[in-house]
Amino acid sequence: MPHPYQLLPAALLLLPALLLADDYREEREQMVEQTIAARGVTHAATLEAMRQVPRHHFVRPEHQGRAYGDHPIPIGHGQTISQPYIVAYMTELIAPEEGHRVLEIGTGSGYQAAILAAILPEVYTMEIIPELADWGAANLRRSGYHHVAVKQGDGYYGWPEKGPFNGIVVTAAAGSIPAPLVEQLADGGRMVIPVGSPFQTQMLMLVERDGESITTRSLMPVRFVPFTRSEEP
């Protein structure tokens, strides 16, 4: 049996985590109320997922204290974890519901996949940068989302053997909407792509499939009123 003094270092090591664990729950609640629901996200399952998923598990240790702020956070390799509002809005846009199967292109930290996995049992995610794929997968495991399938590879071709998908979330868009992804979209399926620098207000693009018809929509996460007509004659 260990002597009590032998337990002291371990207790000291765990102390910060024990102290901080509940604090983050409060921050998550604030995040949902003040920056997500307040800006118009109403999808109940999405809001619940945002309340559950420990976002601080998906950032680098030095950024944990800022994990719940309304801003993107660098995760290395020139990538960022999107601001919480964008993650919630993108999730709401693909309208995940029971029985849906979704694919994410650009795992990054794994946070978006975790939000989807908190709602759905079948989530697939791909990441082209090997180091990020490993880190994202580790974050998902650490947070208990073992049912997310992570694959390191080129997202251009999607994951045809697991398709078709009811929803596809592309977080690493680069000038094109890959035809294979459009083909892997189920009838009635939706694909969402954020457009713009992660540091700017991102415009979201929604691709919808209705049979053979494909349409796109530019959505405004922040309503911009570009022109007000002069009241003078």
Binding site: H71, P72, I73, P74, G76, H77, G78, I128, I129, P130, D154, Y156, A173, A174, G175, S176, I177, P178, A179, V182, E183, V195, G196, S197, F199, Q200, T201, Q202, M203, M205, V207, I214, T215, T216, R217, S218, L219, M220, V222, R223, F224, V225, P226, F227, T228, R229, S230, E232
Partner: protein, 803 residues
């Protein structure tokens, strides 16, 4: 035992040392500009350099505070300061690397980035501080021959501006700090008394220089730059790197770099994999190469194909043809005669002379003539030719996928001004079209400004039925605008309509289009885009300009900043929409220019006021010293910056024209300074020279643009002679005022001399930042007028200076 007195130096040694030191530090400015533009962005480079240049001002302040102590050890300090400048110059890149990685894009998110930014300022300011202290000390201690020393200072600086252009072609960028530091060592040796501390300092400096040459520190691009993203892809490889005054060109190859820019969603073929070319780490173009006539060309499935649908052009002008992807499409479409204009000579040489195989020798195709020059100089020459009539003029694609965060806001875009569009219009055939493709952006700003420019152009031509001349075709990612010289006939309209349906594109503007057809494939949740387009074609323009939350007035040659959209008066609205953290990224360049001006103003104020602790606040004509040297610092730089920007349009080549204007102006001023040795620094002389300088600047302001417009089409050699004549006399006269002023301070206000040097340096740097902001808002002509006003103040202050 006291040391033996130092032996006298030959009279030419100190001036030559000053010239060599000035050469090195001016050239170093351009090296930092290149290094930081590659590692970060151009505007960050500008911000750091502006602050670093305050090192000169700080030198004046220190000398004003401790002039007795410093001047007592002048002979020993002078070489030591040159050596310190050389050592810090050679080690700057290494030191900056040791302090952690600053990233501009994180500046508004991470507080520690502010600290890193301050450290960067300090590191890059050191070489300027030490060299500035050495030169100011020489000015003070040898004030009897200030005319000669200032001549050496200016001529050295002018030579530095020219030499660095050559060095940037010949040597890798990372080696240049070490090479330039050798000039400072030479300056030290020229003023070198035989004392053992100097031998040690010399050896140490040479050791640091050797280390910088043997272990060079190439700039590392930010991880948020496009090249960093490309290099992280699996099996990515950097296959080429080369340097020139135009910047660093890199080519990256990776099996997943596909070329599919906003292609139609109906296009199901696999996009081609091609290498990508980057300039200073930013995407410049894809090395697409040629496509066989029977093969599918990917761009034929994009909105960029619009000019070839509207008609079958035979004579085509491609502006900024870069890596030739538009050229590839034009040749695939069977165009018989193509003029391709590319202003980046480094890029043009690479793809035409060194590696034509990268793009399947597109520029060697018999139908293609490559013109390595700026758009405006080509347009001016083309207008001079007897018969030119292009079926289509295609401008470069504007913006990038997702926007560009406004990092280009401060760049001059002379090819997108009202005057440029008017020239293009004149060069079009009767049925010719002008075409430009832009990426969708949020909030829309490029499209409204372009439409406003074209509407004003059509109205100038007396055309009222604007909708008969304009087409806008939109895909999910891009929008191509077409301006037709003749009204679009039903056959052309039908062809465009058919193409749009086949590719799944929406005609936002097309004669006879129904509202529901405008958003059939791609919808905008915000109806504002369509409203804006419609308003810009029909509503009074003044009201539209006033009510839009961004500045969308057309750019002009006087305000050639096409990508600058922020307006101080509208910041409140934008802040409400975007919040404090995101607002800076709407137009990062503009925000950085503002931040730069503010911090320079504050530091300058501090550096100017500090010496008053020694000089006293009340006595001895300080206000006239402040006014005289403040106005020379501001006036000279206002004039120089406005001239550089306007002559950039005239001379065509941005790199050489900047070097030429700087060299001519500085050398002419140096000669002016030398001639002051024959003048007395009497109040009447200062008044006369000040008034003449103001008058000459005023005349230059009034005559410059008409003169340049009339002689724009001349051969480059003639234009260089015109520039020499134009700049020589004002340059000569402006160069007399600083040394005459310093002599006027001697002997009665001799203590003011270092302070005056500091004021001049600080306000020169302040002028650079202010000139940029003033030009953005009011235009280059107004900046020149301000320069004239500054020299009027010089004349007034000259009457009381030193009395």
């Amino acid at each position: 035992m006291p040391l033996p007195p130092l032996p006298p130096l030959a009279s030419w040694r100190i001036p030559l040392g000053v010239a060599l030191a000035s050469l090195a530090v001016i050239a170093f400015q351009l090296v930092i500009m290149q290094q930081l533009s590659i590692a970060q962005w151009h505007h960050f480079a500008y911000m750091v350099i502006s602050m670093a240049m305050l090192g000169f001002g700080a030198a004046g302040t220190l000398l004003a505070l401790a002039r007795e102590a410093l001047s007592r050890h002048y002979r020993l300090l002078l070489p030591l300061l040159y050596l310190a400048s050389g050592a810090t110059l050679a080690a700057a890149a290494w030191l900056a690397g040791q302090m952690g990685s600053f990233d501009l894009f994180l500046l508004f998110f991470e507080r520690q980035q502010l600290l890193l930014l301050l450290v960067s300022y300090l590191i890059y300011a050191l070489p300027f501080f030490f060299a500035g202290l050495a030169i100011t000390l020489a000015f003070y201690c040898e004030r009897q021959r200030i005319g000669l020393l200032y001549f050496a200072n200016l001529v050295g600086s002018g030579a530095g501006a020219l030499l660095i252009v050559l060095l940037l072609w010949w040597l890798p960028l990372a080696l240049l700090p070490g090479v330039l530091a050798l000039f400072l060592v030479a300056a030290a040796w020229l003023s070198y008394p035989p004392r053992w501390p100097l031998h040690l300092a010399s050896l140490a400096t040479l050791g640091i220089i050797a280390a910088s040459l043997l272990l060079p520190q190439p700039p590392q691009p930010s991880e948020y730059k496009a090249i960093s993203a490309a290099l992280q892809l699996p099996d990515a490889e950097l296959v080429h790197t080369s340097f020139s005054p135009y910047g660093q060109i890199d080519v990256v190859s990776a099996p997943v770099l596909r070329f599919a820019p906003s292609l139609s969603l109906h296009y199901r073929a696999t996009p081609p994999v091609r290498d990508i070319l980057f300039v200073n780490g930013e995407y410049n173009g894809t090395l697409l190469g040629a496509f066989a006539p029977h093969a599918e060309h990917p761009l034929a499935h994009s909105t960029r194909a619009l000019p070839y649908i509207a008609q079958q052009p035979q004579r085509l002008l491609l502006l900024h043809s870069a890596t030739g992807s538009e050229l590839s499409l034009a040749l695939h479409q069977g165009v018989a005669e193509i003029d391709a204009v590319e202003p980046n000579r480094h890029l043009a040489n690479l793809l035409y002379r060194d590696h034509p195989e990268w793009i399947d020798r597109l520029y060697h195709h018999p139908a293609v003539t490559l013109h390595p020059e700026t758009t405006r100089s080509f347009l001016a020459r083309a207008e001079g030719r007897a018969s030119v009539g292009y079926d289509a003029i295609i401008l470069p694609t504007l913006g990038s996928f997702g926007g560009n965060s406004g990092v280009h806001a401060l760049g001059e875009q002379f090819h997108l001004t009202a005057e440029a569009f008017a020239q293009m219009w004149r060069l079009l055939d009767q049925r010719g079209v002008l075409a430009v493709t832009l990426w969708h952006e949020q909030p829309p700003r490029t499209l409204p400004r372009l439409l406003a420019s074209w509407r004003e152009l059509l109205e100038e031509q007396g055309i009222e039925a604007l909708d008969q001349h304009l087409v806008a075709l939109s895909s999910w990612g891009t929008l191509t605008l077409l301006l037709s010289r003749a009204p679009l006939d039903s056959e052309r309209v039908e062809r465009i309509r058919h193409f749009a349906s086949a590719q799944g594109f929406d005609p936002l503007l097309l004669p006879g289009i129904t509202p529901e057809r405008r958003q059939r494939y791609h919808r905008h949740d915000d109806a504002g885009l369509l409203t804006t387009i419609d308003q810009l074609l029909s509503a009074p323009l003044a009201a539209t300009y006033r009510d839009y939350p961004l500045n969308i007035r057309p750019a002009s040659d006087n305000r050639p900043y096409f990508f600058q959209f922020l307006e101080w008066s509208k910041l409140g609205t934008l802040y409400t929409l975007y919040g404090l953290q995101q607002l800076p990224y709407l137009e990062l360049g503009f925000v950085l220019a503002g931040v730069t001006a503010l911090q320079i103003l504050l530091v300058s104020l501090l550096l100017i006021l500090l010496p008053l602790l020694r000089l006293g606040w009340q006595r001895g004509g300080r206000r006239w010293t402040l006014l005289y040297f403040g106005a020379t610092g501001l006036g000279y730089l206002f004039f120089e910056i406005a001239l550089i920007q306007q002559l950039l349009l005239y001379l065509g080549n941005p790199v050489y024209s900047t070097a030429l204007v700087l060299a001519v102006l500085l050398i002419a001023s140096g000669i002016g300074s030398f001639l002051t040795t024959r003048l007395t620094a009497a109040p009447r002389q200062l008044l006369t020279n000040g008034l003449l300088a103001a008058l000459l600047i005023l005349l230059t302001t009034l005559l410059l643009l008409p003169l340049l417009a009339h002689t724009m089409g001349l051969a480059t050699g003639y234009k260089v002679v015109i520039v020499l004549l134009l700049l020589a006399i004002p340059g000569l006269l402006l160069g007399t005022l600083f040394p005459l002023g310093l002599r006027a301070l001697n002997p009665r206000c001799e203590a003011h001399i270092p302070w005056a040097c500091g004021i001049d340096s600080c306000l020169s740097v302040t002028a650079t930042a202010l000139a940029t902001l003033l030009a953005l808002h009011y235009g280059l002509t107004q900046v020149m007028l301000l320069a004239a006003a500054c020299y009027l103040l010089v004349a007034v202050a000259g009457v009381r200076l030193g009395r």
